[in-house]
């Protein structure tokens, strides 16, 4: 197979794309769209892709073929042989290499003029300065944890006075035959934290069923995982990627299944239940990745209305029974702990002020009016009125100065008050 693109095919490759992005259509917004400038603007745009797995491979390829020229990709994983059935940028020789690097090189070889910068790291290894350089972020992740992290980071980066601080987040996700694509404009439209309830929680089995009346092979495996492991502790800590550990669980589950006359416990089922694996399907990934990249193209070019601007922001797809998609507006949550509750500036006289003075002042300040405040900083409990034991432990802090408590200019504190039970107020200390 050749990876060379014939030079003469280059203009042809972009012909249809240019028809879409350089000419207005019936849905283009004339205020946003200027066909003559789109191609140049997209070329100078920096776009970040998070994840180079099932969705990420598709997203990278699609973005490169949509006219984006400067792409960064983050993925901390290396290629496993089991990825090859759906992560089409990887070959058998690549097993063990960085996903981000192999994917970047592959797409660069195939699409002339595109530059992809790989980062074989965790998203948490980068700070806001790094994320600030991008105009768009596209996520193809398999973990809720990582989504919540990048969401909170992008929401926190918003500075109302700086237009460039709003980084649209396009998030794709798949699970078996189902998937979703959504667009989040931080602090403007509903965020990932607002939409947490859209993730179906893992169906947990009652502990007593596992302990006394298992009915299915999964119950036996969960029993080995949750109960037998803790009782016998065959290894210091469970490593779900260690075949020896999984084998131990498999043997335990098998013995229990025989005791209760249950069929179907296998090694691969054990692995699946313990690691909570849901089979990934290549076709679902390509549908969702395509939807995400369409949104990226629409946002970047203004050629058509995109999701989330401002109404419908969530497209769900289900291939379980024939094909079904539904696009709707997920509402923002006013009390969302991430986007509904952004820190406000709190001017204070300086580091020599005591915590007691600061808390007392919260009662009088028009922006706070909190008469019974409890306060915490990152990793530091300053003063909590309840529960009783915590009050006793933190009472000595009241007479310490902010400097003694390690509080600095620009630091965030979270204040709760029984009068406002539903919210925790976030303040950013500003020393005068």
């Amino acid at each position: 197979m050749t990876s060379q693109v014939h030079p003469s095919s280059e203009p042809a490759r972009w012909r249809y794309l240019d028809q879409v992005r350089t000419r207005p259509g019936p849905f283009t917004n004339p205020d946003l769209f200027s066909g003559a400038q789109v191609a140049a603007a997209m070329e100078s745009m920096k776009i970040l892709v998070i994840g180079a797995g099932g969705l990420g491979c598709e997203i990278l390829k699609n973005l490169a073929l949509s006219g984006f020229k400067n792409i960064h990709v983050i993925d901390m994983d290396t290629i496993d042989i089991s990825n090859l059935n759906r992560q089409f940028l990887f070959r058998q020789d690549d097993v063990g290499k960085s996903k981000a690097e192999v994917a970047a090189r592959f797409v660069e070889r195939r699409v002339r003029g595109v530059k992809i910068t790989p980062h074989n790291k965790r998203i948490q290894d980068f700070d806001e300065d790094f994320y600030m350089q991008f105009q768009l972020v596209v996520c193809g992740l398999d973990s809720i944890e990582a989504r919540r992290w990048i969401n909170a980071t992008l929401v926190n980066m918003v500075d109302e006075d700086v237009e460039d601080s709003y980084k649209p987040l396009i998030d794709g996700g798949t699970e078996g035959f189902k998937g979703q694509a959504r667009v989040i404009i931080p602090t403007v439209t509903s965020c990932i934290e607002c939409q947490l309830d859209m993730h179906a929680p893992r169906a947990a089995v009652p502990l007593c069923t596992l302990a006394s009346i298992p009915r299915q092979p999964e119950h036996c495996i969960e029993w080995a995982h949750v109960i037998a492991w803790d009782q016998e502790k065959p290894f210091p800590a469970l490593d779900k990627d260690d075949p020896e550990h999984i084998s131990w669980l498999y043997q335990k589950a098998l013995a229990r299944a025989q005791e209760f006359n249950i069929q179907g416990v296998t090694y691969s089922l054990t692995q699946g239940v313990v690691k909570n694996i849901i089979p990934a399907i290549a076709a679902t990934n390509s549908v969702i990745a395509a939807a995400c990249c369409n949104e990226a193209l629409k946002i970047a070019s203004g050629c058509a209305p995109a999701l989330g601007l401002p109404d419908n922001n969530y497209m769900m797809y289900s291939g379980n029974d024939a094909i079904y998609t539904y696009t709707f507006q997920h509402q923002r949550k006013e009390d969302c702990p991430v986007c509904g509750n952004r820190p406000r500036d709190l001017p204070v006289s300086g580091p020599q002020q005591t915590l007691r003075d600061l808390l007392d002042s919260l009662a009088d300040r028009p922006e706070a009016q909190l008469k019974q405040p409890s306060a915490r900083a990152v990793g530091k409990t300053l003063y909590m009125r309840v529960p009783e034991s915590l009050e006793k432990q933190t009472r000595p802090n009241l007479d310490k100065t902010l400097a003694e408590l390690g509080l600095e200019d620009g630091q965030e504190i979270a204040v709760s008050d029984p009068a406002f039970a539903t919210v925790v107020f976030r303040f950013m200390l500003r020393f005068k």
């Binding site: 809720i144 302990a211 702990p337 915490r376 409990t381």
Partner: protein, 187 residues
């Protein structure tokens, strides 16, 4: 917003940066969503006379110990403690709760695992720490024989309530029931 032309501003900024005008913003650490939620839940906690907490490290509010001293029911006179470990994914995931003593109770096994629906299959992010501690308290008022984790205790409760009551007293005093020696929890 979202005009791609805003990248012009980007260029202007780059020009400013070239002149050395942009100061590096100080790195701000943020309070995580789980911590915010736990702070809120703690300030709403109603412990009453029968419960109290202990924080081994007051700066880490994600792990603490809850003491329950039931003032009625079969477990009256005992003092039971539970470790609470709250994952950073809270409230998407429930807190991890474990009884620290070996006790004779149909819904708590000998390792301290608790069978309480809202700690596992029925957990929802709208529930809070108060709901969990009310649930734990309820287990001591109304032990439930139909969800057994300690099968012997559940059997005893189902068959003869009187004997179950006696066994509870024996076990709470640090005695042996059906060959199993329990921790002394009487205060």
């Amino acid at each position: 917003m979202l005009k791609i032309w805003s990248m012009k501003k980007e260029q202007q900024k780059a020009e400013n940066a070239a002149e050395g005008t942009t100061a590096a913003a100080p790195k701000k650490k943020k309070v995580t969503a789980a911590q915010l939620r736990v702070q809120k839940d703690l300030s709403e906690l109603s412990l009453g006379n029968t419960m109290s907490t202990e924080f081994p490290d007051p700066d880490d509010i994600l792990s603490f110990i809850l003491y329950i001293e039931p003032d009625e029911g079969m477990y009256k006179g005992g003092r039971f403690s539970f470790t609470f470990n709250i994952p950073t994914s809270f409230p998407h995931e429930p807190p991890k709760v474990q009884c620290r003593e070996k006790i004779y109770h149909p819904n708590i096994d000998l390792e301290g695992k608790v069978c309480l629906n809202i700690l596992r299959e029925d957990w929802k992010p709208v529930l809070n720490l108060n709901a969990v501690i009310v649930g734990l308290q309820f287990l001591f008022l109304e032990p439930n024989a139909s969800d057994p984790l300690n099968k012997e205790a559940a059997e005893d409760l189902r068959n003869t309530r009187e004997m179950f009551k006696r066994n509870v007293r024996t076990a709470m005093a640090g005695g042996t029931v059906r060959g199993e020696t329990y921790h002394k929890v009487l205060v």
